[in-house]
Symmetry: C2
DNA sequence: CGGCATCCGCGATGATACTG
DNA sequence: CAGTATCATCGCGGATGCCG
């Protein structure tokens, strides 16, 4: 987690910069969140609808965490009922290609390991 | 975890193939393991030396898991004292670019977020 | 609608000691 | 050298309920 006051990750606690994305993206629902937001900005309820198996509490938690990390923007409109729109920040958007590559690798992995395997 | 008998991940339990790499690479020390093995094959003790903060138990656990997923090869030579060499499989090697990209993104992230930040 | 407060279980990780 | 055995811990994530 980022520092409480600065919301920044500490500089020197890593052996490789590699550990930073693994720390940031390690939440159970983070990949799905970013995957969804990469297509379009979404309201809390829309995200929730796209991810039926996550509870609101945990979804909210992970969104807040991503916000502190500077990966997502949270924009709240003070209306009744409330409207809250989440979007990816610039650095967040720069992570999208990573996720696309991961997705490709995942497909390749399945292909290699599941060939001839009845599903 | 892979199926007990086939050691294969199930075909249909994923919303996106994206979830597969996140499942496989989610172990706390997995990034370091793969990062190390991407440079050269290594014996258990060499890996342990390169990762001072992991206990042998957990290192062994995560190596076994990666072996079941088909990411690493384990080659044991029946000598005294024993020699065990770990290496990346083909599909494991195909993940190296992903890790390099993650590393780059991590560096970029630090640069953006830590500019002007005293470490 | 978009949360937060509270309680809780469990799996992943860690510490320590021991072994073929 | 390359692990296993045992026990302890700890925090993520889930369930439920309430609120502005």
């Amino acid at each position: 987690m980022p520092d409480d006051r600065t919301n920044k990750v500490s500089c020197s606690n890593y052996t490789y910069e590699l550990e930073i994305p693994f720390e940031i993206f390690s939440g159970k629902w983070v990949p799905s969140i970013i995957w969804n937001l990469s297509k379009e900005d979404k309201r809390f309820g829309e995200l929730k609808k796209a991810m039926p198996k996550v509870t609101p509490k945990v979804l909210s938690q992970q969104l807040r965490m991503l916000e502190r990390y500077g990966i997502v923007n949270r924009k709240a409109y003070p209306e009744v009922p409330p409207v809250v729109v989440y979007s990816l920040t610039n650095i967040g958007k720069k992570a999208i290609p990573l996720f696309e590559n991961m997705n490709e690798w995942g497909a390749e992995y399945l292909e290699i390991r599941e060939t001839g395997y009845h599903c």
